[in-house]
C-alpha cells in the first residue's frame, strides 16, 4: 500500500507544478498587458489581404497585383487565408488577425452572413475593411467594395454560347454553391440574357460544391437526360473543367459547348485544345491593385477619392484568340513569382 507521506509528497509536487505553470501564465499575461492597440506608426502601413482561399490561382493573381501596388506605395502586405473556400477555415484566420491590428483589412468573404461578425470587430477597432471579389450582406460595414461585374460576365457567357450554338438548343448552368454573391450574380446574368434567345432554354441548374468531379458526373447525367443540350455554363473553374471533361468523354466535343469562368492554367490548357470553347476572364490583379490603392488612400486621409463600389468588366477569350498576347496577359498565375 502507499504510504500517506509519499502520497502527499506526490500530490504536493503535482499541485505545485500545476500552480507554477498557471502562475507563469498569469504573470506573463499581466506583464504584457491586454493591449491590442496598433503598434505601427503612421509612417509605415500594414495591410492584410485575406483571400477566399490561398491556393486558388484567381486569388494568387489578386495577391500578385496587390503586392505589386503595395511595393509601389511602400506598404507591407500580408497574405493569410484558409486552404478551402469555407467560412470554417476563413473565420479563425480573420479573428486571429485582429490581434495583429493591421491598418486595413482586404478580404474576400467566403460567406455573406458568417463573416459579418468578425468584420464588425475590425470596424469596431477602427480598422477599415474592403471587400474584394465576394461581399457580405451588410455592406454598410465596408469602406469600399471591388468586384468583377458578374452579371455582365453571365451575360457575355450566354451570348457566347448562343453564338456557338447558332441560337438554338438547351443549355444548363453549373453553380458552385448557392449563397456566394459572385456566382449567384453570374447565374442571374446568364438566365436573364438567355431570355433574349427564344429558341434556347435553360433546362437545369446544378450545384457542384466546388468539385470538378461532381460537376463532371452532373454533366454526364445532363447529356444523357437532355439530347438537345448544346451548351453548359460553368460558373467557376471547377464547373468548366468538369463539364469539359464530361463532354470530351461522351465524344461530344464540338457539339456541346462549354463556357467557363476564370483562366487558371489548367482551364487555359483546356481552352487552347478546345475542350472548353470560351472563357470569361476576370481581372483579379486589377482588383488587388485597386484594393491596396483605396486602402492607402483611406489611411492617408484621401477617403473622398474612393468609389464605394467598383465593378470591373470581364474579358472574353475563345479557342480562336487563346494565344493572343492581348488575351494571355489576363491569364491567372498559380504561384507568386519572386517578391
Amino acid at each position: 500500500m502507499l504510504h500517506s507521506s509519499k502520497r502527499s509528497r506526490a500530490a504536493w509536487f503535482r499541485y505545485t507544478a500545476g500552480a507554477a505553470a498557471v502562475a507563469a501564465m498569469a504573470v506573463s499575461l499581466a506583464a504584457c498587458g491586454s493591449s491590442s492597440s496598433s503598434g505601427s506608426t503612421h509612417k509605415h502601413y500594414t495591410i492584410a489581404l485575406v483571400p477566399g482561399l490561398t491556393t486558388d490561382p484567381f486569388y494568387i493573381t489578386m495577391g500578385v497585383g496587390a503586392k505589386a501596388e503595395a511595393k509601389k506605395l511602400g506598404v507591407t502586405l500580408t497574405w493569410q487565408g484558409g486552404n478551402a473556400f469555407t467560412a470554417e477555415t476563413q473565420m479563425p484566420v480573420v479573428s486571429s488577425l485582429l490581434a495583429k491590428h493591421p491598418d486595413a483589412l482586404l478580404i474576400a468573404p467566403t460567406d455573406v452572413t458568417a463573416l459579418k461578425a468578425p468584420i464588425q470587430k475590425f470596424v469596431n477597432a477602427g480598422i477599415p475593411v474592403f471587400a474584394v471579389d465576394t461581399t457580405i450582406n451588410d455592406t454598410s460595414l465596408l469602406t469600399a467594395r471591388i468586384t468583377s461585374d458578374n452579371v455582365q460576365g453571365g451575360k457575355v457567357a450566354a451570348d457566347a454560347i448562343a453564338k456557338l450554338a447558332h441560337d438554338k438548343g438547351d443549355v444548363a448552368v453549373l453553380i458552385n454553391t448557392p449563397g456566394i454573391s459572385t456566382t449567384d450574380a453570374r447565374r442571374q446574368g446568364f438566365i436573364e440574357e438567355m431570355k433574349k434567345y427564344p429558341n434556347m432554354k435553360v433546362v437545369a441548374t446544378e450545384y457542384y460544391n466546388d468539385s470538378a468531379s461532381t460537376a463532371e458526373s452532373q454533366v454526364r447525367d445532363l447529356l444523357l437526360a437532355h439530347s438537345n443540350l448544346v451548351g453548359v455554363f460553368g460558373s467557376n473553374i471547377y464547373g468548366a473543367q468538369g463539364a469539359g471533361a464530361a463532354i470530351a468523354a461522351a465524344g461530344k466535343k464540338g457539339k456541346v459547348f462549354v463556357i467557363g469562368y476564370d483562366a487558371e492554367p489548367a482551364t487555359v490548357k483546356m481552352l487552347k485544345n478546345g475542350a472548353i470553347n470560351g472563357l470569361v476572364i476576370q481581372q483579379p490583379a486589377l482588383e488587388g491593385k485597386l484594393a491596396v490603392e483605396y486602402a492607402y488612400d483611406k489611411l492617408t486621409g484621401k477617403s473622398s477619392k474612393i468609389p464605394k463600389y467598383t465593378q470591373i468588366p470581364n474579358v472574353v477569350a475563345t479557342t480562336a484568340n487563346a494565344s493572343d498576347p492581348n488575351i494571355t496577359k489576363y491569364y491567372y498565375m498559380s504561384a507568386f513569382s519572386g517578391s
Binding site: K6, A10, R14, A17, S36, Q80, S96, K100, T113
Partner: protein
C-alpha cells in the same frame, strides 16, 4: 493497474454491487494516483521516466504554457485580448465535441460521428426555425422549438449509436462510421446542400454577446461550464465511475453488476446531446447553419482527448486533460496565423503533438507499472 476480481461462487447481489464499487474505485484510484505509484520505483529506472511519472498529467499544461510563451516571443500579439477571443471562439466547437468524446474513449469506444451529429442537428433545428419564422409564430416559440430540436436530434442519434453498439455488439468504429456517413448525407438532404441564414436574432446574438467587456463570449462560457459539469460527472459521480469501470475491464464490470449495455447507451446518448449543443454554438457563431458544419471535427476531438491523456484502450482520461488538449490545438491555430505561417502547418503540428503525447503518456505510465 486494474485488478480483476473474479466473483467466486455464491456471491450475493449485495456483494456483487460492493465488488463493482470496489472495482470502480480501484480503477479511479489507478487513474488518479498514477503519480503516487511512481514512488515505488527503484533507483534503477532512468531519471527521465521517473521525472515524467512525477510530473503526472500536468505535463500537458506545461506544454500549453510553453507554446503560448513561444508564440509570444515570436510575435508580440499573442497575449492580447483579440488573440484570446479568437482562440477561445475557435475552440468552443472542438471542446464540446472533445468532452463528449472523452466519455466515449474512456469506455474504450470511439465515436467518429460527432461531427456529423453536430451538422445534422444544427441543420435540423435551423430548418424548423426557418419554417416557423415564415409562419405566425412568436420569436420565443421559434427559438425554444429550434433549440429543442437540435438537442433532441443529437440525443436521438447518440442513443441510436449506443443501442446498435451495445445490443448488436458491433465495434464502435464501424457503427459510428456508418452514422457519420449517413448523417453527413442526411444534412445535405435536409436543405438541398444549401446553408440557412434566416435565423432568429436570439441565435445570432448568442454568438456575438460577451461578458466582462468582451473577454468572455457566451459560447465560450457555455463550453467551459459544460466542461466543468462533465468533469464533475466524470470524476465524482457513479456514472463517471461506471464509465471508467466499463472501459477498464468490461467483463469485470458486467460480472460485478454494472449494466454495461445500458450504460453504453447512456454514454453515447449523452455524447450525442453534447453534439447537439455544439451544433447550436456553431450556428450561433456563424449566424447560419451550413451543411459543412462539423465536417472533419471528429478527428480534432479525438486528438484533443489523446493529447489530454485519454487512452484509446479505455479506462484512462480526464476532463482537465481534454481541456488542455483542445487549448493546445486552438492556440496553435491562432499562433500560426499570427506568425504568418500557412494553415496547413497547423494540421502537421497537431499530428506530431498527438503522437508525441501518446508516446509520453506511454512512457510515463509504463514507469508507474501501468498497462
Amino acid at each position: 493497474m486494474s485488478t480483476t476480481k473474479k466473483p467466486s461462487e455464491g456471491l450475493t447481489e449485495g456483494d456483487a454491487a460492493k465488488t463493482a464499487e470496489a472495482d470502480a474505485q480501484v480503477v479511479t484510484d489507478a487513474t488518479a494516483g498514477s503519480a503516487e505509484l511512481s514512488y515505488q520505483l527503484e533507483g534503477s529506472v532512468p531519471f527521465f521516466q521517473r521525472f515524467m511519472s512525477r510530473v503526472g498529467s500536468f505535463w500537458t499544461l506545461g506544454v500549453l504554457v510553453l507554446i503560448v510563451l513561444l508564440f509570444e516571443v515570436l510575435t508580440p500579439s499573442m497575449l492580447t485580448k483579440a488573440a484570446w477571443i479568437s482562440t477561445a471562439d475557435y475552440g468552443v466547437e472542438y471542446l464540446i465535441l472533445a468532452v463528449a468524446q472523452t466519455f466515449i474513449i474512456i469506455t474504450a469506444g470511439i465515436d467518429i460521428s460527432v461531427g456529423a451529429i453536430l451538422g445534422f442537428s444544427a441543420m435540423s433545428g435551423a430548418v424548423v426555425m426557418q419554417d416557423m419564422m415564415s409562419g405566425h409564430n412568436s420569436a420565443t416559440a421559434v427559438v425554444i422549438v429550434g433549440i429543442a430540436i437540435m438537442l433532441v436530434t443529437g440525443l436521438a442519434i447518440g442513443l441510436l449509436n449506443g443501442l446498435i453498439i451495445s445490443r448488436w455488439k458491433l465495434p464502435p468504429m464501424i457503427v459510428t462510421l456508418g452514422s457519420m456517413t449517413a448523417f453527413t448525407g442526411a444534412t445535405d438532404v435536409l436543405h438541398h446542400g444549401a446553408e440557412i441564414a434566416t435565423l432568429p436574432n436570439f441565435v445570432s446574438n448568442l454568438g456575438t454577446t460577451s461578458l466582462f467587456d468582451g473577454w468572455l463570449p457566451l459560447p465560450v462560457l457555455v463550453a467551459l461550464v459544460l466542461t466543468l459539469v462533465c468533469g464533475i460527472i466524470l470524476a465524482r459521480t457513479r456514472f463517471g465511475l461506471h464509465t471508467y469501470a466499463v472501459g477498464s475491464n468490461e467483463v469485470a464490470a458486467r460480472r460485478a453488476g454494472i449494466h454495461v449495455d445500458r450504460h453504453l447507451v447512456y454514454v453515447y446518448g449523452f455524447a450525442g446531446l453534447l453534439c447537439g449543443i455544439a451544433g447550436l454554438m456553431v450556428t450561433a457563431d456563424f449566424s447560419s447553419a451550413s451543411p459543412l458544419a462539423g465536417y472533419n471535427d471528429e478527428m480534432y476531438a479525438i486528438a484533443a482527448c489523446v493529447i489530454g491523456g485519454a487512452s484509446l484502450w479505455g479506462g484512462r482520461g480526464t476532463m482537465f486533460g481534454t481541456l488542455v488538449g483542445t487549448a493546445i490545438m486552438s492556440v496553435l491555430t491562432t499562433g500560426l496565423v499570427l506568425i504568418n505561417v500557412q494553415a496547413f502547418w497547423q494540421q502537421v503540428a497537431i499530428g506530431a503533438i498527438v503522437v508525441a503525447a501518446a508516446g509520453f503518456d506511454h512512457i510515463r505510465l509504463q514507469s508507474g507499472d501501468q498497462k
